[in-house]
């Protein structure tokens, strides 16, 4: 069983993890939180998630649109931009460098992030 990822790592990785999740498909806020949770990165609370999403949107790494819900109110859906994909790729490279610097060929926790990124 993999060791739990330290909370401070997850906080620092949150923007990269969000971009990685959105690289797969457009998602709304709660969907992003669930996607990160399913991949072992912890389910961020709304208070941590939305400020980061706001900054990613301000930096033009993601865009957002309100879309009508199937059975409920409209949801704000986030889509990664081309610049966001470039940043996600750069984050992945940086992650590999960091893992290499730590002396691990395939770091255990990198797997979760990379799966999310693909």
């Amino acid at each position: 069983m993999a060791d739990p990822i330290p909370a401070e790592w997850i906080r620092a990785l949150l923007p990269a993890a969000i971009l990685a999740a959105l690289a797969e498909q457009p998602l709304h806020g709660y969907g992003i939180a669930q996607a990160l949770g399913e991949r072992g990165l912890g389910t961020p609370r709304g208070g941590s998630l939305y400020p980061v999403l706001g900054r990613l949107e301000r930096d033009d790494l993601v865009t957002s649109d309100w879309v009508a819900g199937d059975s409920g109110p409209a949801k704000k859906q986030y889509t990664i931009t081309a610049a966001g994909r470039e940043r996600a790729a750069a984050d992945r490279r940086a992650w590999h460098s960091a893992a290499h610097a730590l002396g691990a060929d395939v770091p255990v926790h990198a797997t979760a992030l990379e799966e999310t990124a693909r």
Partner: protein, 414 residues
């Protein structure tokens, strides 16, 4: 803080440094770090930008500068060894700008970092506390008296017709201005900007009409006197303001925070909830309590977000709609998912153009109002130039220049 920014040319001239404690002693420590006056100037500009532009608290600003001192000292250990005892000025190997970036950029990045951390590093209370209101009224009356003296000298000469209304005018105008600012500050967190601005504009009109009626009642007795007698009036108001500063204690300078969670209805509600024995209430009661807590959370979030000034109303409502939806999907309350509404409001990224755009709108309204008064005055004087018309025209030019300045700043931001 990031200290690996691209080197840029220093731009240090014309820096107005904060001159009240604790900044002079703090700036002296910055200068002592490696005996550089340029470092002190750089820190002074950072302080000015953090306090005046980004509305950071004094404590947070001091903390930011204190973090910089060892960075400067480490950059030139030889110079740092000379310290404050060195009589002559030293030329550092790398300037503060080269080490830490332009002061304005450094301050902006620092403010952004505080926002990202949801730090309570910003002034969010009203500018006009009861104490500052009490001091500002006679202080502004002193300044208005001087302006009245100047305008009467230009329009009437060395002799003027005095009346109780004329003597009371500076105090009434100062009181009106402070009342309008206090009203706006109180309603701004409670209402959307457009509604708050409309109510404030209405109060300006109401106070202007009330003041005009008061002045018309106070037109007698009239007597002729030297215009110079307005000078003691200004000095008298200034003396009152000075005495009030001395009389009121520093403790009274604390900011009222009606939305302090500790004393807020939400906090009381939380306390009530925590005393409720689990399982002793019905599901319906739980739901209604949960709805009440969410409602209170939303009210506190709106108040905190509107106080920030850089969050447009639409962004506030979008954030709330998203938060509601997130909490609904997670089957939890807003406070469970988002924590303190004040912290969440502080953590959202703001739009620096919003306060500038609002300022420009107010300046445009003021310019139009002055233009209307100018046209009325011009018509009353038979479309000929007189000193009052000339002064009003000057005022209009000043209004338009400040408006253009805001537009330039907006363009620079975009």
């Amino acid at each position: 803080m990031n200290d690996s920014r691209a080197p840029e040319e220093p731009r240090m001239e014309g820096v107005p440094l904060p001159d009240r404690e604790p900044f002079p002693s703090l700036l002296a420590r910055v200068r002592a770090a490696r005996g550089s006056r340029a470092d002190e100037d750089w820190a002074g500009r950072v302080i000015t930008a953090l306090i005046l532009r980004h509305e950071a608290t004094v404590d947070a600003t001091v903390g930011a500068i204190e973090e910089v001192i060892p960075v400067l000292a480490d950059a030139d250990p030889d110079l740092a060894a000379h310290g404050p005892s060195s009589p002559q000025e030293h030329e550092p190997r790398l300037t503060a700008v080269q080490l830490l970036g332009e002061p304005d950029d450094f301050a902006r990045e620092q403010a952004e970092a505080w926002h990202e951390a949801g730090s309570a590093a910003f002034e969010d209370g009203p500018l006009l506390t009861p104490r500052t209101f009490l001091i500002a009224v006679p202080g502004l009356a002193a300044g208005t008296s001087l302006l009245l003296l100047l305008s009467q000298l230009l329009t009437e000469g060395l002799q003027i017709t005095m009346s109780p209304g004329l003597l009371a005018m500076p105090l009434v105008l100062a009181l009106n201005l402070c009342l309008v600012i206090a009203l706006y500050e109180r309603i701004k967190p409670l209402l959307p900007f457009a509604a708050a601005a409309a109510i404030t504009a209405g109060s300006v009109v109401g106070l202007a009409i009330g003041s005009a009626l008061l002045f018309s009642i106070m037109q007698t007795p009239r007597f002729t006197a030297g215009t110079g007698w307005l000078l003691p009036l200004a000095l008298g108001y200034a003396a009152i303001a000075g005495a009030l500063i001395q009389l009121t204690s520093r403790r009274a300078d604390g900011r009222d925070d009606p939305d302090d969670p500790a004393g807020s209805p939400a906090a009381s509600m939380t306390a009530v909830v925590s005393r409720t024995p689990s399982g002793s209430t019905s599901t319906t009661a739980d739901q209604s309590l949960s709805a009440a807590r969410d409602h209170e959370w939303e009210r506190r979030f709106r108040t905190a977000a509107r106080r920030r000034s850089d969050l447009p109303e639409r962004q506030i409502e979008d954030a709330l709609a998203e938060a509601r939806e997130h909490a609904r999907e997670a089957w939890s309350g807003l406070d469970e998912q988002f924590g303190s509404p004040e912290d969440f409001a502080r953590a959202l990224p703001g739009q620096p153009s919003t306060p500038l755009r609002r300022k420009a709108m107010v300046q445009l309204g003021a310019s139009l109002a002055v233009l209307i008064v100018l046209i009325v005055q011009f018509a009353q004087s038979g479309w000929t130039w007189s000193m009052p018309v000339f002064l009003m025209a000057l005022w209009l030019v000043a209004c338009v220049l400040t408006l253009l300045g805001s537009v330039r700043e907006l363009r620079a931001l975009s």
